[in-house]
Amino acid sequence: MVEIFVVLVMLLKLAVLVAVLLMLPIPLTWLERKIAAHIQQRPGPMRVGWHGLLQPLADGIKLLSKEDHIPDAADRFLFTLAPIITLVATLTVFVAIPFGETITVYGTEITLYLTDMNVAVMYVLAIAGIDVFGVIIGGWASNSKYAVLGALRTCAQLISYEIPMGFAVVGVVMLAQSMSLVAIVEAQSELWNIVYQPLGFVVFFIAGLAEAQRIPFDLPEAEGDLGAGYHTEYSGMRFSFFMIGEYLVLILLAALNVVLFFGGWNPLFLPLPPLIWFLLKVAFFVWLFMWFRFTFPRYRYDQLMTIGWKVLLPLSLANILISGVILS
């Protein structure tokens, strides 16, 4: 009886998580357009609903009703598979993200995370890496030069930046003496990791921007030189799968930054509920990413590689060294 209940709660949490995550891109596209607009002194979408709030819904309906076009020369099976891989891989990562502490409902304790894996850090980095496959497969299956070039760039970029990203996390793992994200958050209840690991945070943040393919590292979809990158040939719902996937990666990175360096659900000044604190911090990071996007130009490809291999990688290694020396 108890086991069934546990499984039911688990499934319920999963359903809520997936539903919320799939709905989130709707307000986020609106937010992104509004931020872009206000940085450029425009009001942004204004006509559909109050201050254009229903604009994403209108866009969604438009995307749904568009022709689902598969190019003649494309590999149909892989072409259909690629957006699904991207979306599923990204959704899977969220299983390990702790959103808050335990809450008690009708005398039963419910944890605000799906699993507390002891190798959560490894899991997150590894599964987030699967994302690349969707991109490569999508670019290759489209049989278009823009898509292939975009996919190649994405591939090179993601692989280069996964290394400093992984190394940047090592410092955090050393501090918490654990790879479980829950343990990492609990270890920060006194003082957040950002205080001990400023260098690690900078490396993680920059590498994260590159992983999410956001400006200034959005070479994979540089509109100017590639059409749209790996999803050039996609239209309608398949395209919006990639879009949703991109926004989910954005949320994921914000969540990871919060969990690893900004104390997860630990409150700062106000004693708000832990979940609220977590969401506030994630929202701040999402806003920060969007703010970055409309401030900076795009890096050149060689600059991208230089930053990844010649700057971030040595910095992340130095960070491990310094942390090790101080801790021992």
Binding site: H38, R42, M46, T295
Partner: protein, 189 residues
């Protein structure tokens, strides 16, 4: 020595992302500044300056008689050949236009007709919202030209307006006379 000091301070700034922070603070200040967009056609509308060349109109004298004397000079000078004037003699023995058609779809709003007119009859006014779904509807006749809006008396401002339709085409209707100079939003001191 001074050069080296400058170099060092640049490097220190670079390490602490000073240029990135400069850029971010600039965009942050813009993010919370007033937007400059004119909310056309929903809430606001631009009233053009007096010299603006929009939809034509035909002037009338104080008796309501059209001023045009049907000399066809405007039709001759028109570079687009978009005017058709057929004169007739009215009951007072004056030469007046029987037919006066302007094809707005072909007109390039050069204003030459206005310059050529000896009777101060044809003018280009302030009206600019006359989009249409078929080009036949853009051929405007004599009576419509007499009735169409004149030149703006106090132009060069943004006024309150609301979106309506006239003859099936959406237009933004001016609701208030008072307006503001749109450029005041653009110019930053």
């Amino acid at each position: 020595m001074a050069m080296a000091g400058k170099q060092i301070s640049r490097w220190i700034g670079w390490v602490f992302f000073s240029d990135i922070i400069n850029g971010l603070s600039l965009t942050l200040s813009y993010m919370f500044s007033k937007t400059v967009t004119e909310h056309y056609p929903d809430n606001e509308k631009w009233v053009p300056f007096e010299r603006y060349r929009g939809h034509h109109f035909l002037n009338t004298d104080e008796n309501g008689e059209v001023k045009c004397v049907g000399c066809e000079l405007c039709a001759k000078i028109c570079p687009c050949d978009c005017m058709e004037v057929v004169p007739y003699e009215d009951e007072n023995g004056n030469r007046r236009p029987l037919v006066f058609n302007i094809d707005m779809a072909r007109c390039l709003f050069c204003g030459l007709c206005e310059d050529a007119c000896p009777a101060d009859a044809i003018k280009l006014g302030q009206h600019y919202e006359f989009s249409s779904e078929n080009s036949e509807a853009l051929v405007v006749g004599r009576d419509a030209l007499i009735a169409s809006p004149r030149k703006a008396e106090q132009g060069g401002k943004v006024v309150k307006a609301k979106l309506t339709t006239s003859n099936g085409a959406p237009i933004s209707e001016q609701t208030e006379d008072e307006g503001y100079d749109w450029w005041r939003n653009i110019r930053r001191s």
